[in-house]
Amino acid sequence: MRITSFMIFNQLTRSLQRNMEDFAKLNSQLASGKRIEKPSDDVIGMMRSLDYRLSINNTEQYKRNIEEANFHLQFTDKVLGSVSDSLLKLKELLSMGGNDQTDENRSFYSNQAAEWRDFLLELSNTKLRDRYIFSGYKTDQVAFSYNSSTCHYDYNGDLGEIQIPFDTGATLPSNIQGSEAFSFTLEGPLPTELPDGTPLNYGQTTDPSTGVTTITIEIGNSGDPDYDTFSISNLMDVANVMSYAWQYKDITGSDLHSDAAIREEMATHRLMALSIPLDDAGNQVLQVQAEIGTRQVHLNDQNARLDNAALNLKNALSKTEDADMEQTITEILKTETALQALRESASRLISQSLLDFLK
């Protein structure tokens, strides 16, 4: 092949250009630490790294959600701990304040019960970040309030479960409804008479829209002078009935009976009849706490899993898009050597011509 001056120059400039391009690319990889700097550098790798990054982003969001849910559940658990304690105190009052008490004692017990009642009401209306935590979806309303016309405590919330997403397509409620924590159902075989032989009947109905169970208690035979019936639908009601019973009164504030002896008997019966509901209420609260515990374990497991997944994803991402520093530096050295050799040979090639030798 005939070689001309232009060919030599052209070849040289192209080689230099190509070498410089490689050099620049490697340098920019070294500077950014990334192997992929635009989609066309590696289309498949780019797609993979985009996928990884989205997954990492999702994982981080789920972790934030879990943190938030955990915070709510922990707070709720604390409140329920206080509820449980209050129920124990009420139970204590019930066992101490049995028969044959002085009027002084009775009024002490009555006051105590009223205080626990009010404390329970406060607990039921706990707020977290401006939300009533036991109102279901109706977080802007107090969960329970005293209804002065029925003299009962009413549940104002609903059955709403605030579901928190903690994984793709998986959610878990972060709240406990007031009807679940403060209202309760009686479990197991129920006694049909009081320890003194008085007939006793527990009836219960659950309102499907709120989940509140109303327990109706009948004591004695219908028609008897000491026949008594009353209903409770939550813990405050229980404490309320107790508080009034120690004063021989119904929750409306009127005397249980005009006759003092019957009145006392009826009050005693009421307190006795409340013993089982109080136990079941305590169990219910414990069950709810256990349920919270289960959810927390679930969330913590998931959190650990997400941590693990995030680590794996970050590793994979780094493997996909990060430049291998050692390799890049080696490549740069190689390119540099080639560039040097090229320059040297070029300087010899273009400096020589036949004209140099013609004197």
Partner: protein, 539 residues
């Protein structure tokens, strides 16, 4: 033969050497001139004279100046310049579009899109939180801004493609008129001559044709007079000493069409930079631009559908989260106007439709994307036509040549904005009774991110977007690979051409010595002849 004959031979030798030296000098002088083909003076024995039965030599003549030129290589070069022009236009434009989707540097829609859905998750964990609500609105606005910026980036590129087409057409016209002028000169110089000796003009014309080939593909042939006829898009660009002007006109789609000799030749231009630009703008429009618009349109459609079913903190429902989709229509009719409205946004396919009328008064609605007939029937003047959640009504008289198009995509970005300004109206709840703690509608919207969407061909929002990125990445990669390939091939062909036509300084240096020596020898001959004559005169 007289002694004076010797003078003649010596003189012819000197003249020939001088001519050869001139050619050599010209070669050396043009060693760096692009497109220059090296020349060589052709020596031949001068016609001998018969003297007493013997033929005696009569010196040397220069029969011509040869141009080292290979038409075959030149033709190949033209073809390769066309390929190179196309590849470079594709590569340049696509690499710019690629930067708009450069997720490697977190430029693009992936981050704002996930941020937007993450904000819905935050809202789901705190349905009544004002912070979460205003954060969601802010993230939604960022998404809108990012999407609009991306679209502007693409449309800016399409505009610069249009500008480039204009500029290149101008350059094509300049080259064409130069070639036409050179044609005239070549014909003049070579008239009556048997050899092609207008070497410099031919070199010039080749350089111009090479440049023309990088701009546009053409076919060419040289007639017997040496005049080059050039046809682009099957129309004459240069014919003899006249050239036609390549002009551009904006078509219905807003793109530039190329007209030569009054005929639209856009479809016939395949190569050169013009061919590359014409094909790349279609690619960008169908892939990147419409893809992005379809993604956003689906997002608007799906989010709004869910959002309208939910309830805001203020108890209102049926609110759009994003401004609803609007149809844009185009009208290719003189006597009739058309308006289109969305009657059921859940049925929208996000495809474009064209509405035509046949001679027997039937309307025909075609899906422009897949070409299928959507609906047809007898057209009753004034009564609306409904299909796929769209209702159109036409006023005026339609004829069978009338055509209308309806597109839900064209104005998507223009109308893309957050419709909610009062954060209370963000519908996290699915029922009025469950306010404000109900987050189930927010959860459904969160779930949307994972759902496959029918209007995106069953892809999820993020995987569809990933598809857009990978498409532009692959196209840009392919363009850059083919540019490298074409560049190498072009360089290979240029090397081939250089190998034949290029000037080698070593060669020319040798020639210098060679002709210098022969010149000196010729001069010596004159001196000797002179001495011989002197000898005679001295007798």
């Amino acid at each position: 033969m007289s002694l004076f004959g010797l003078f003649d031979i010596a003189k012819s030798a000197i003249f020939a050497s001088q001519t050869a030296l001139t050619v050599t000098s010209q070669n050396i002088a043009n060693v760096n001139t692009p497109g220059f083909t090296r020349r060589e003076a052709l020596f031949a024995v001068a016609a001998p004279v018969a003297l007493s039965g013997n033929l005696l030599g009569n010196g040397v003549t220069i029969t011509g100046i040869k141009r080292y030129y290979d038409q075959f290589i030149q033709t190949q070069l033209l073809g390769q310049y066309e390929n190179y022009g196309r590849s470079s236009a594709l590569n340049q434009t696509l690499s710019q579009i690629e930067q708009i989707f450069n997720e490697a540097k977190n430029i693009g829609l992936a981050v704002p899109l996930t941020d937007f859905f993450n904000a819905w998750q935050e809202l789901a964990t705190n349905p009544e939180g004002f912070v979460q609500r205003s954060d969601l609105l802010q993230k939604a606005n960022s998404l809108v801004l990012a999407a609009k910026q991306m679209e502007r980036g693409i449309t800016d590129n399409l505009e610069s493609v249009s500008d480039s087409i204009d500029n290149i057409a101008e350059r094509v016209n300049a080259i064409a008129s130069e070639i036409a002028a050179i044609n005239g000169k070549i014909v003049q110089v070579e008239a009556g001559s048997q050899v092609q000796n207008a070497n410099d003009l031919r070199d010039q014309r080749d350089v111009l044709m090479n440049e023309l080939a990088t701009l546009v593909d053409f076919s060419s042939y040289e007639d017997e007079n040496g005049s080059m006829t050039i046809m682009a898009g099957m129309r004459n660009l240069v014919s003899g000493e006249t050239s036609n002007s390549l002009s551009t006109r904006t078509n219905e789609e807003g793109d530039k069409d190329l007209y030569l000799d009054g005929i639209n030749i856009t479809g016939n231009i395949k190569k050169g930079q013009l061919g590359g630009l014409i094909s790349v703008r279609d690619t960008i429009r169908t892939n990147s631009l419409n893809g992005l618009r379809r993604l956003i349109a689906s997002l608007i459609q799906e989010i709004n559908m869910l959002h309208r079913s939910g309830y805001g903190l203020d108890g209102t429902t049926d609110n759009d989260f994003f401004a609803p989709l609007q149809l844009s229509t185009r009208d290719f009719s003189s006597g009739a106007d058309m308006t289109a409205t969305i009657t059921d946004s859940s049925q929208l396919t996000l495809d474009e439709y064209s509405i035509q009328f046949d001679a027997s008064g039937n309307y025909l609605v075609y899906n422009k994307q897949n070409g299928t007939l959507v609906t047809s029937g007898a057209y009753v003047s004034g009564s609306p036509i409904s299909f796929d959640g769209i209702e159109i009504s036409i006023t005026g008289t339609v004829t069978s040549t009338d055509k209308f198009t309806v597109s839900p995509l064209t104005d998507v970005m223009k109308n893309f904005q957050v419709a909610i300004s009062d954060q209370q109206k963000i519908a996290a709840a699915s029922s009025n009774a469950a306010l404000p703690g109900d987050n189930s509608n927010a959860l459904r919207i969160v779930q949307l991110y994972q759902n496959s969407i029918a209007n995106l061909g069953g892809a999820t929002l993020s995987s569809y977007y990933g598809g857009l990125v990978s498409t532009i990445g692959s196209m840009s990669r392919a363009a850059s690979d083919s540019l490298t390939f074409d560049d190498n091939l072009l360089s290979e062909l240029n090397t081939k051409r250089e190998s034949l036509s290029g000037v080698s300084l070593d060669e020319e240096a040798a020639n210098l010595i060679r002709f210098q020596r022969s010149y000196q020898a010729g001069a010596k001959m004159i001196q000797i002849t002179d001495e011989l004559l002197q000898t005679l005169l001295d007798l």
